[in-house]
Symmetry: D2
Subunit: 433 residues, 4 copies
Amino acid sequence: MIPRYSRPEMASIWEPQTRFKIWFEIEAHAADALAELGTIPKDAAKTIWAKAKNATFDVARIDEIERETKHDVIAFLTHLAEIVGPEARFVHQGMTSSDVLDTCLNVQLTRAADLLLADLDRVLAALKTRAFEHKMTPTIGRSHGIHAEPVTFGLKLAYAYAEFGRARERLVAARKEIATCAISGAVGTFAQIDPRVEEHVAKAMGLSPEPISTQVIPRDRHAMFFATLGVIASSVERLATEVRHLQRTEVLEAEEFFSEGQKGSSAMPHKRNPVLSENLTGLARMVRAYVTPAMENVVLWHERDISHSSVERMIGPDATVTLDFALVRLAGLIEKLLVYPANMAKNLDRLGGLVHSQRVLIALTQKGASREDSYKLVQRNAMPVWRGEGDFRTLLKADTEVKKYLTDAEIDEQFDLGYHLKHVDTIFKRVFG
Amino acid sequence: MIPRYSRPEMASIWEPQTRFKIWFEIEAHAADALAELGTIPKDAAKTIWAKAKNATFDVARIDEIERETKHDVIAFLTHLAEIVGPEARFVHQGMTSSDVLDTCLNVQLTRAADLLLADLDRVLAALKTRAFEHKMTPTIGRSHGIHAEPVTFGLKLAYAYAEFGRARERLVAARKEIATCAISGAVGTFAQIDPRVEEHVAKAMGLSPEPISTQVIPRDRHAMFFATLGVIASSVERLATEVRHLQRTEVLEAEEFFSEGQKGSSAMPHKRNPVLSENLTGLARMVRAYVTPAMENVVLWHERDISHSSVERMIGPDATVTLDFALVRLAGLIEKLLVYPANMAKNLDRLGGLVHSQRVLIALTQKGASREDSYKLVQRNAMPVWRGEGDFRTLLKADTEVKKYLTDAEIDEQFDLGYHLKHVDTIFKRVFG
Amino acid sequence: MIPRYSRPEMASIWEPQTRFKIWFEIEAHAADALAELGTIPKDAAKTIWAKAKNATFDVARIDEIERETKHDVIAFLTHLAEIVGPEARFVHQGMTSSDVLDTCLNVQLTRAADLLLADLDRVLAALKTRAFEHKMTPTIGRSHGIHAEPVTFGLKLAYAYAEFGRARERLVAARKEIATCAISGAVGTFAQIDPRVEEHVAKAMGLSPEPISTQVIPRDRHAMFFATLGVIASSVERLATEVRHLQRTEVLEAEEFFSEGQKGSSAMPHKRNPVLSENLTGLARMVRAYVTPAMENVVLWHERDISHSSVERMIGPDATVTLDFALVRLAGLIEKLLVYPANMAKNLDRLGGLVHSQRVLIALTQKGASREDSYKLVQRNAMPVWRGEGDFRTLLKADTEVKKYLTDAEIDEQFDLGYHLKHVDTIFKRVFG
Amino acid sequence: MIPRYSRPEMASIWEPQTRFKIWFEIEAHAADALAELGTIPKDAAKTIWAKAKNATFDVARIDEIERETKHDVIAFLTHLAEIVGPEARFVHQGMTSSDVLDTCLNVQLTRAADLLLADLDRVLAALKTRAFEHKMTPTIGRSHGIHAEPVTFGLKLAYAYAEFGRARERLVAARKEIATCAISGAVGTFAQIDPRVEEHVAKAMGLSPEPISTQVIPRDRHAMFFATLGVIASSVERLATEVRHLQRTEVLEAEEFFSEGQKGSSAMPHKRNPVLSENLTGLARMVRAYVTPAMENVVLWHERDISHSSVERMIGPDATVTLDFALVRLAGLIEKLLVYPANMAKNLDRLGGLVHSQRVLIALTQKGASREDSYKLVQRNAMPVWRGEGDFRTLLKADTEVKKYLTDAEIDEQFDLGYHLKHVDTIFKRVFG
């Protein structure tokens, strides 16, 4: 996570002040529950809220205490006592640091998930708008980078829409994975804290109680969360790669929006490079990179160790901030993408009708040629075209073997573009409902 | 995937004969639909089924044809024509290889998922049985590898049960991700094949139609599937690591079952090593390793390329066979795990009552000592015990500062083991219902 | 590792018979040293060699014994005793299984490295030949997929040559990392075996003695080995990606060789797809995937555990066989690559001289225009060309601001292709010596 | 990279001011060479140095320009022109941004490597000192976490010393990989800049000229660099894991230094947790995580794209800062590690002499028992001891079968601890010379 690739909305979730505020809320809600249970005085709970609810925590002061105690939660509690006064002794009763830390992390991750869901919605909206705009804009479909058969540019965006729709569903599930709260005390036995405190805090913080914790919330949940981000990032890379391909000089079917002041190259002023898409490719690599350490984090020793902590201090912000930035950048890229239907048409014509070869193949078999023979007939007329030696339709009409099966009119029928687009409606209905 | 770590049930899903059988079924069901639509003669569809339904495909023959054509599906279709005869020309009409290959892969993956779900059920059953068996067997809870406070051995297994329960839910979701079928023809436009064929084949093969495909089924689905296996493998490693720790010579609270003929070490005959758990640790690393290539596979060029294929030919079998083997091994390990409650009791007593320090801490604060002071009082009596110089309870009773807050009887109260286990029932109800 | 992507030369290194043969050699050389030291009778060592040197080990029999003993080395030794007779009791004296297993693995890896080095030599030779063949074939250099300035096709291959030259150096270093032998007995103390045995076996097997082992050879060596393979695989992917790009329909500057019987697509007979390069892309992902488990393997517990073993049983063959296959495929691809200089020339001309924009920019600054002004002058004449509205040279000559700095003749000078290729010789000398 | 896990020495390498200073030096050295070649006036080069050599660059101003131009190097050059004045037009002549950016990155990485080498030296020094201190301190060697045979604590540290010695050699090689400079202009042809400029800048910046670049320095170099850091991090994790194991309550053979004010647990005041080692485990996971994106970065399109850039902006600092922090933390940990020889002795005795079982096994075979029989005799006397039912030596002496081969005195001989340590000297000489 670096400022260059951060949005303040997401970055602020990971700031110390936010973290301390969440820690306070967890402690204060727990105090409410403890007061309700009669474990601590009701006035104490009220005082805790009253004194610190609107406090700005002194991050430097907490850091200073931590340098001495080498323990972040104790440092916070010490500072909180400076704010709250004597009633501070009723804070954190029967709790462990992990109760605070793990519940806080999950609050941060659910907030991050909410932002990412909003980002996905923006990506989806952009894809839908542009997909309908270009629903019937013909363009060549390519397999292996080689011209195959016609599709529409709207279909390309509809593919992406469906993919990001799945991304959204996965993220909803991943959010649920980490929306849990544990206030279960040392080694998770509730020996020193009533399970009802956990229930209260969970509800107050918008989480579910963790059914069984071992002082820590189990890290398979987080592994699943970060793995899901990695998969979503891969979808970002796929769409970004599509744009990079479309913007290639020889293809030029679409281009990233290029603002007036922008310079493509310090040496070559004419260049307009797909730098946003390339950037997204790199960012996707990073979000994916965080999946493995998140999975390694699952393997804590016995009831818990702290090896996961340094990993999460890094990948918590790094993965969410980077993916958030990437999704917003992707949404903007799609919203403003320059689309060149004329170039698409030009490219479609490029192979002299070869893209209709499969139709010819099928027509031949339907007229009684064996599949093997049909394949050979098509291939021998296709190869010269491929080498730039002639036009496919003309060659077919001149091939005496082909003429045994197909008349000139029947050959002409196979070269109708509309034929390929007849199910675009069906597909759009499947995707957009 | 190597025979040493394979079970035949899973390995057979990936054998050529199985693959060809699935290919045939896809083609034959498609022929049924084409016949129903009037595209091909109804008799042709019947003949295809009649001639090849119970055929054993000649793998060597198909390989031979593929060496010439360098195309696996064409090789298969050529061989199929040898079995079916002239009606073979009605097979595969309007379809592409990807229709067959991708739908087949998803059939294989769903079957693999079904086996893995059964494996998880066996792991869950074993964990549940052993958890109830040891529901109230006290043992020390450890954080950072250091004695913390008492738990029960049943709780340790209940943690794992909850974790594998989540694994099961994730796998159900992952199975759904890849249970789709695409019969959409070149670049996925249905130009040469009616969408109703896809619907028919999907239903017949137990899959859903892929809403929009680009000749290939989008690989974000598979990335999610393999990522899920990676997370499950991490949970396997966690439980295996627990066993490795418990079997350490100095701990010896549990041991892998050791059969009569087994030899622990060629050099040191007395040794009983946790080799199954260590093996599971390694296997988990492998299943995790397949996540990244699966995510890289998402980024196909334009409508499709074939870069994913070699990856899937390897990780399809490798990931599912390895995880299947690991889960079955884990289930057996838990079913037969030797548990030593006497050693657990011995270890619990090891620190001279230090594990009750938190209770003393809380008792002090409840009697009016500040949190800071309480911490210091406990720590100064704990440190000598840690160094082997005395018994915690005796030292506390001799500390005049402590005595200001707690009587001897009150100190004694803090050393009750039952205190820690009072919520075991609650937790078991949460986990097992 | 699957047969489809295996060459017998590399696969045979990992066959059981090879492994048992290496095990035998280690044991027999150790017996020689033990005999020389007087630990066992000299005749015993001779008998061991005489009876088993040319033996074919009965893999099924060894498997059978292992099923009972659950220990592979003991199973082998039991079978060896069946071959050697009573003198077999002098085999393996003071040794542990790890002495045999780890030394054997390193023998296998060094042999694998030797094959890979030969593969790299073939790749390098192919690149060198084709680089000189096309040393002066002009082609457009592209940054961001956008036309930049002219290079030669020979330069492209020279880049790759330099990269694979570095790959070779790295592999030589990686081979050295794992070319060690440990015969140090239990926990590596040589308590039961003289260090001179290790020295003798190391020399006989072409290895160095491991300076300090802990029963096992430290796995940081293997991590470095597999990491190196991962980096080499990434270079394979880079070159394969270059070919995939060059073969795109719109670019078509080069093509994979396409044999007569080969079929590009079952549905579209005209297609010639870069399937080998795409396959290499996928294989590279797999070789990279083995890096992380190899690094995780470093972290053995105390003197050793067996968690690395299952990983190595898989990635040992998987990584070396896959990379070997990929390198040989890559060498063949380069050797037979179809190169189309005419298409390169056509693409070079595509942007109406825009590729010379930087030259114009520099000429302007040299004539006294500020860098900022020069940039703007070039950009305003470049943009219309980019949109297909005119020719760059003509536009420049018509720009009155430009004419303040450059005459028509000076403008013409900037459009000389030879200008860009004047240092090709220098670069070739740097790369090829 | 977060402040918590950063040292200022390393972090400062990655600060904007440092980067701009390096950019300036590259530009100014290039100007010197251009002046020497007569391309630009000699006075211009002098002025550039004179005006900007000691300048502090205005990071905010550069950021502001970049927001408009969306190009970092142009922003810098614009700001530089504000400092240098009219002669600024002679800066960057014939160069591209990549010349500056890539050479700068390599300067930063070599400086980072130098710090890491110093860190490794400190780790090595600490390991050597402590190894000699405990050269003959007996402790149990463990395989699979199970007691095996005696070693010394010095040997454990010597293993680590040898491993970090290899780490150092690898880092020296990795540093060499990235210590290159490219000033080759657009697409690397030197069309607009003389190769002698590159030679001059390389020498001035302490780098070698890149033999062939494609505007960018090839990223296989960086992949190898980051892969090497990943392997070193794995060695950090191995040693950290050893400490975590040694500090376990039941083992307690060593402990991390525990400062006075430090608090182990907010809930359990007695606890002394190996938090530094656990932290190192997590940090190692992170450094490893950066290897895969670095390898993915190798695959640039054609002569270059910018996808690597975002990755490097993150992993450049993240990997080097994190590993630097980890190595320094590890060095301090080893320097101050608390070692408990008495506990080691206690643990050694724990198994009632079982650790000598291999010696007994060998003695039996040397007296003529078959290997199989010896194994069984040892195992049947070992198993009761393992179960806590007796002492190994006593049981052996009471076994009539054993007595056929060994007298009581001969049995006693096998229980000598010194026997295991007789080659410690040899091993130390191999490791420390």
